[in-house]
Subunit: 363 residues, 2 copies
């Protein structure tokens, strides 16, 4: 490994992020490349990127660039991964990015059987308000529905001709037509803002989405002569760990995950059962101190619940010193989570009222 | 083989059509299933189909159905295969079909590098006028550009999720993303007319296009619960043979092919060199007679140049009896071809003037 992930509270929950960086050929993320890095950037939760120099330059020199992400309007739930995406989108939005949110209604219709009309209803009625509630500025955001964007289709069609079956399989494992169609459509989405005006773009995603970024960069390179596209940059955050300490919260294990929104009674129960960095007995913990690096609760604080670095440091120290015991800490976590969930839901309701003012493009 | 291809002048130029019917699991075409079959239907040039009963019923009972074909606006040339497609489209159009012509501009941009604007220009400036010149009634035809039709995209996206990689490979040999994108888009094109109103549809094509029909039928079956689509029917014509007697005219061998349009000087040269059913010497031919079944010139008469069955029969008999010798016959062929080419080009010019009256849909 060529460098070190800078994480002041060094999480040991998942040790394979270094390996991911090596395997995927990513750049390690250093928060100092961006002015006033946001919370998850400076805390090592954002841990890797691709081609960030061009975005850093654009931010510092106030040049045009874009930030883009998508919404899959299936269930009326999002997750902590979406929250981190919005946090990064918001950072770039506040630092000058033209911001795009696409609604993957074509995909939700084809892959999940959620009809276009229903997908539209869910996007407008929940997903977009949720993103706004989490910090996206609707006045500075350009929205579109995949099902109305022929520019994306045109790019997807061209992209498909620039990828061989073997390359596709090397990235995705197989070349199932459904996967091919989705992946090439995503390539179209990622490059779409440059149809109007070529500029660097940043796609903040969970690390599992890197294959799309890589594929899009390959395609952009091959379409260079025609479109002169900038290759899109990727920014990767760690997963929010599963409540039992595993790599990632997963809907397939309901006990491992907190959804947004989720009933607080259920959330509290899950938090009280979560894996911590506590010792076998209270006595032992008072003596040796806890291990916040191994604690899911601390990771929730770090990633989502505590904004103030000093407050986070205090909890870290109190845990380390044996002053703070897990039971008490979990009660605190429940309180913070309750507050967060309440704010989130109030924000959703508030944003719904302004939904008619959004800027949708049809191209 | 379950039956016999009815071809009153039994071409021996290509004997594998029986095998194709077996291999592809097609139905042998019997002209009597349609009232007043057109020239290529009654002459065995149209030789196979899929699911023609529903079209036959629609024609006879004046029920709604559609006929559909596409234009690939790359070079400003078409070929005799297109001419046969138009001949069949025209037949169905005259027998009540709602007729659709799609311009595959997305495909021409992605696969052939012909930009959308250029593709549009060529479609309006040549391909559509050429189809009208060959008999398509523009007033009864609905046109669209792939690049403007989101309904097709929506269907293509859904289709992609209903096909496995292995199925795709069994049909097309590989699952190259470009091929997947094109093929699923074609599925969307073929089913598109039923988005508005479900009804049987007939797709007249060269036999090499059957894979698309098969794939579309599979997809339509799998989308049945949602859309209740009729499975599209296919109607297959033989190829116009290569001038040297091979299976098919091919642009890759310029000597084998007559394009529409093509300079008559070049065409005449090619015709004079074409393979005939003539004997080694004129004397032998006078004595034994020629073999029109093996003659490319006779096949051109049958497929394209002679409308009157009696006239065709007379040539057949004169050749068989030794009365008609190849040199003289080729001169005759040149004359008929010249007349055809002149009419074709005049028709193109005439149709261009009315191009603004076409009915284009954007959906």
């Amino acid at each position: 490994m060529a460098g070190k992930i800078i994480d002041p509270w060094g999480s040991e929950l998942v040790e394979d992020y270094g390996k991911i960086i090596d395997d995927f050929g990513l750049d390690i993320f250093s928060p100092e490349i961006f002015p006033e890095p946001n919370r998850i950037m400076r805390r090592g939760v954002v841990f890797a990127g691709r081609d960030l120099k061009q975005i850093s330059n654009a931010v510092k020199n106030k040049k045009k660039f874009y930030a883009l992400s998508g919404i899959m309007p299936t269930s009326e739930k999002i997750h902590f991964g979406n929250k981190m995406v919005v946090e990064n989108l918001r950072y770039f939005q506040e630092h000058g990015a033209e911001t795009y949110i696409l609604v993957a209604d074509l995909e939700s219709a084809a892959a999940r059987g959620v009809e276009l009309e229903e997908a539209r209803k869910r996007a407008l009625g929940f997903h977009i308000p949720a993103y706004i509630s989490l910090g996206l500025d609707p006045k500075k955001t350009i929205f579109y529905f995949q099902s109305e964007n022929m520019g994306v289709v045109r790019l997807a069609s061209e992209a498909s001709k620039r990828i061989t079956e073997n390359e596709f399989k090397a990235v995705y494992g197989n070349a199932d037509p459904g996967r091919v169609y989705s992946a090439t459509t995503q390539v179209g989405d990622i490059l779409f803002p440059q149809l109007k005006e070529r500029m660097p773009g940043i796609i903040p995603v969970g690390i599992d989405q890197d294959p799309h970024i890589r594929l899009t960069r390959d395609v952009a390179r091959r379409l260079k002569q025609k479109y002169k596209f900038f290759l899109p940059s990727g920014l990767y955050h760690k997963y929010t760990p599963s409540l039992d300490g595993g790599l990632k919260m997963s809907k397939s294990k309901p006990e491992s995950v907190i959804e947004l929104p989720e009933d607080m009674k259920s959330v509290k129960k899950k938090i009280m059962r979560a894996k911590t960095g506590g010792r076998d007995t209270v006595e032992e913990q008072r003596e040796k101190g806890g291990e916040p690096e191994k604690c899911v609760i601390f990771e929730l604080y770090k990633q989502h619940l505590i904004d103030d670095d000093k407050e986070l440091q205090r909890i870290y120290d109190d845990c380390k010193s044996g002053k703070l015991i897990c039971g008490e800490d979990k009660q605190n976590c429940c309180k913070l989570m309750e507050k967060f969930m309440k704010n989130f839901l109030e924000g959703v309701e508030k944003s719904k009222k302004d939904i008619s003012k959004l800027k949708f493009i049809i191209k």
